[in-house]
Structure formats: structure tokens, C-alpha cells
Amino acid sequence: MKFLVCISKAPDTTSKIDFTDNATKFNEAGIQYIINPYDEWYALVRALELKESSGGEVTIITVGPQADEPVMRKALAIGADKAVRINAEATDSGFVANQIADYAAKENFDIVLCGKETINYNSSQVPAMIAAHLDYPLISLATKLDINGSTATLQRDGAGGEETVEVQTPFVLSAAKGMAEQRIPNMKGIMAARTKPLEVIEPTGSDVHTQVVSYEMPSGKAECKYLEPDQMDQLVELLHTEAKVI
């Protein structure tokens, strides 16, 4: 089975976020990049587990500049077989999805796995967009994936609760918490990653339909009002009359 895992870089979750150039650019000074946690912990690790149990090949793909390669090497160290980088800035989810779909269409992957969202833009749209380009079914917010031949059984979160679904390959999924557990790469993996293939492909022409005009920081909170444990009647009163939330 051929797996394609889409990965994106993201600022380390402890990063303090800040902007430059009149709040139009993300300030990368001092930022440590990691693999977007949903892509790494859930999508990548589950693909590796399935490859280990039933055979196959795991390719990772990212849309980004050369500076993203250390993050890609980490995915190879965790166990992916090869990497593909589309040499372009990932500025618009439609553009990113189009690039990934163009590559995937040529390679006949059985399962395309994405994290459910990135922690920088939280849009949760690239998986649906890739599925649209390829005309594949999409299982979004999947928490479990098992395969038996060309039939996959998944669990997903939905408005009514958890659903179990069956789908034939090929398909696209977005992975949520529960699908797998984080893996720490070992020394052997890190050494092997250095020589694994990392192919660089130039982007295919594609329209960009959105652009970030500016960023904004949340306004600071007013001072916290402290109450004593014995003043819970007052707290309820404040929540009702002052905050008006109950």
C-alpha cells in the first residue's frame, strides 16, 4: 500500500507569536519549527504502523522553501521512506492543496493522510481541497484507521458523536487525536534519514485566491478580579449581572 503523508512546519507550541513590517509579516526570529503535531503524531505515525504491519511505502510531502528541509528530515528519521518538497512558499491553502494533488495524481497513492489542521492557521481545509482535486472520498477528523485489502475502516468525530465508516482506497483522511501515539526518532533513524531520498519539485502554475493583509494581536485582558472561596454567591451574581454570561 502506498501512503502519502502531507506535512507542514509549524512554530513550536511554546512559541510567543509576534509580527514585523507593520504587522504584515510573521516574525521568525527565535522561532523553532516543528512538524505540525497533527501531521506528525497522528497521520505519519499511523501510516508507519500500517506499513510495518502490512507492507508498503510511506512518502511525505511538504510545500515550502529549502529552510523546511530539517523538519522533513525529522519525518524521515521517524520512519518515512522518502520525501518530496514542492519548492514554493505555502501562503494559501488552495495553492498548497493544488500542488499536493498534482503530485499525488501522478503517483497513485492508496491513502493520502493529513493532520486535521495546522496549528498556525487552524483552517482544516487542505485535506478537503486535496480530496476535491483528486475526486477522492474524504474522511475528516478520523480517530482510527485500519485496513484490510482495499477496504479501510475508520472512526471519525461527527456532529452526532463518533461514527464508524468503511471506504475503498484511494481516499484522503484528516487525522485527529487518538489515531496513533507520538514516536521519538532513535539514533538509527536519525542516521538513516540523512541518506533517504528528498526530491525537490518546482510548483505547477496555480492561482492564489487569498492573501493575508495584516495580523493583529489580541488586546490585553483587564485585571483579574479575585474572590475568596466563600464568596461564590457573589461570583454567580457577577457572572449574571456584570459579565452577563449566565
Partner: protein, 317 residues
């Protein structure tokens, strides 16, 4: 501008986040059409006029929420209606369908909008970025705009009125996904976390899963949904779907009560969209107090039952 809104339903009723999406569209569009599916009564659909819809188109024959089937429905209606904007709620279904529709309509998409579009120079939408640590203003440059609205961000305005209801007559692509089992959400009668208005959350300060009764008592008294911090979900005290924070569910309820959670930056990122935050912690130096509106320095085992009693007294009065 002509807008089309996708409305989702659950157990035969249109969901609250769809009222918000319709209300959102009516703020910038002169004509609002709603497209929906499955068995919702015509009376309920007509009542969507109260939120600003003029027309509702329903596909009664379509019963499941597969993204391919819904995409073909929404695109077909968008084309026949000449829609210039398509609005979704950024809920479970919206996350699966909005991106698909944007691709098929060759349109730009902003997902997770938290304010109405600024149309003074083009069409610019404000959304959360960096998991709630910042906001981004994103301009859509394509002729057709697709927007998905974050649940509970803007509310729904009921202005009264009714909409016409017609049956969809086109073709819908078949679903390739077979649902073999559906389990009801375990949040009981409470709203699912992303849509909840009131949330009671607890962390390691509760010392063990056997102590969650006092958290549930407060949630029940308020009619709130329960949540937890990441360590608590990771060690299995609480189910993963209750984990709120940067790598869990991001929420923006009206009221967030956090007991025994110190307030690490990753947790704050997932909850700082909350309108009002109440923090209960034994440590006066807990970073969460800096993000709180109301703080109680005290033991959750002492404070939570007292707060529950106070809420019950308030509700009874």
C-alpha cells in the same frame, strides 16, 4: 451580493451554528439562499427567514453528510442561483465540505471567520491564527468567496420573518463512504465542545479521575459541557475529545471555568477566545490568572462544591 448558506441538521432540526452562518451572510449579502438536506420539516426551514434567509432549497432525498455528495449539492445550487459568496459554519461538516466546494467553484476560502467581512476594499475576513495567539485579516481575491464561520463567535440575530421553501431538483453525486455504526456523543445532553456556550474544565489539580464528580456536578448545575487539560487526557483520566488547548479542541464559549489547570501557553491558546474566564487554583502564581476575568485562589475540592451550591441557589431563585 448574493450569498448561499449551507445549513446542517441533526436529529431533524437545523443546528444552532447554521443559524449563526445564515445571520452572518445576511450582514453583508442582499440576497440569502439556504441549502440543506435530510428530513427537516418545512415549518422549521421557513422559520430560517428569521435569521435573514429569503429562500430555502432542500434536498430531502439526501440523508448522509458525505462530503462528496454535499459538495455536488452546494455547487449545483450555487451555480443555478448565481451565488457570489458561500457561507458555512466551521463545524464538523463545514470542515469536510467548505474546502471541497471552494476548489470546485475555483474560489478563495477563509475558514474560521470571527468577524463580518470588511468590504470597504475588496472582501477581507478576520480569523484566528496561531491557535488563538493572534488574528489574521485575509483578503479573498477570487470572484466567488467562500467563508466558514467559527461557531459561537458572532451569535445569530433573530429578526422574525419567513423564507420560501423549495425542493432541489438536480442530480447529487453518490457517496462512496459507508457509515456502519453511529454512536451518540458522550457529552450527554450538553452541547458538543466546539459549540458550547458554557464550559467547566479541570486539570491535574483534581488528583485523579475518581474526583471528577465535583466537576460534573457544577457542569450539570450550569447546563455546561465538561472539558479537560492535555495531561489529564494523556494519562487517560478523561477521554481525548474533552481535551481543550492548542493540540486539542479550540473553544470560544461565553464562560470558561478552569479548576486545577495552571494555564500553560498551549492550553491558553485553545481557550483564550472565551468571553469570560474563571480560574480556580491553589497557586496564586499560576499563569492562568493573568488570562482570567475572575480568580479564586483556593482548592478545587473546596471551591467547586461551593460554586455548584451557589449556582443551584441562583437557578432556583
Amino acid at each position: 451580493m448574493k450569498a448561499l448558506v449551507f445549513a446542517d441538521s441533526k436529529d431533524g432540526s437545523i443546528v444552532k451554528s447554521s443559524f449563526e452562518a445564515i445571520s452572518y451572510a445576511s450582514k453583508f449579502a442582499s440576497e440569502v439562499t439556504v441549502v440543506t438536506y435530510a428530513g427537516v420539516s418545512d415549518d422549521q426551514l421557513s422559520a430560517l427567514g428569521a435569521y435573514g434567509a429569503q429562500k430555502v432549497i432542500k434536498a430531502s432525498s439526501l440523508s448522509d453528510n458525505d462530503s462528496q455528495a454535499l459538495t455536488s449539492l452546494v455547487c449545483s445550487v450555487a451555480q443555478s442561483e448565481g451565488s457570489e459568496a458561500v457561507v458555512f459554519s466551521q463545524d464538523f461538516t463545514g470542515k469536510a465540505v467548505a474546502g471541497r466546494v471552494a476548489v470546485k467553484l475555483n474560489a478563495g476560502l477563509v475558514s474560521g471567520a470571527i468577524d463580518y467581512p470588511d468590504t470597504s476594499s475588496g472582501f477581507t475576513v478576520k480569523k484566528m491564527a496561531f491557535s488563538g495567539k493572534a488574528f489574521a485579516h485575509v483578503k479573498i481575491t477570487s470572484p466567488i468567496k467562500v467563508v466558514s464561520v467559527l461557531p459561537n463567535a458572532l451569535g445569530a440575530e433573530n429578526k422574525g420573518g419567513s423564507a420560501s421553501v423549495t425542493e432541489f431538483s438536480g442530480q447529487i453525486e453518490g457517496s462512496k463512504v459507508k457509515i456502519t455504526q453511529s454512536a451518540q456523543a458522550s457529552s450527554g445532553g450538553a452541547a458538543p465542545l466546539p459549540e458550547a456556550e458554557l464550559v467547566v474544565s479541570a486539570g491535574r489539580g483534581l488528583k485523579g479521575p475518581e474526583n471528577w464528580g465535583i466537576v460534573e456536578d457544577l457542569a450539570n448545575a450550569l447546563g455546561a459541557t465538561t472539558a479537560c487539560s492535555r495531561p489529564v487526557a494523556d494519562i487517560g483520566w478523561r477521554p481525548h475529545h474533552e481535551h481543550v488547548g492548542q493540540t486539542g479542541v479550540a473553544i470560544r464559549p461565553n464562560l470558561y471555568i478552569a479548576a486545577g489547570i495552571s494555564g500553560a501557553i498551549q492550553h491558553l491558546a485553545g481557550v483564550n477566545g472565551s468571553k469570560v474566564i474563571v480560574v480556580i487554583n491553589t497557586d496564586p502564581e499560576a499563569p492562568f490568572f493573568k488570562a482570567a476575568d475572575y480568580g479564586i485562589v483556593g482548592d478545587a475540592f473546596d471551591v467547586l462544591p461551593k460554586l455548584t451550591e451557589a449556582v443551584k441557589k441562583f437557578k432556583a431563585s
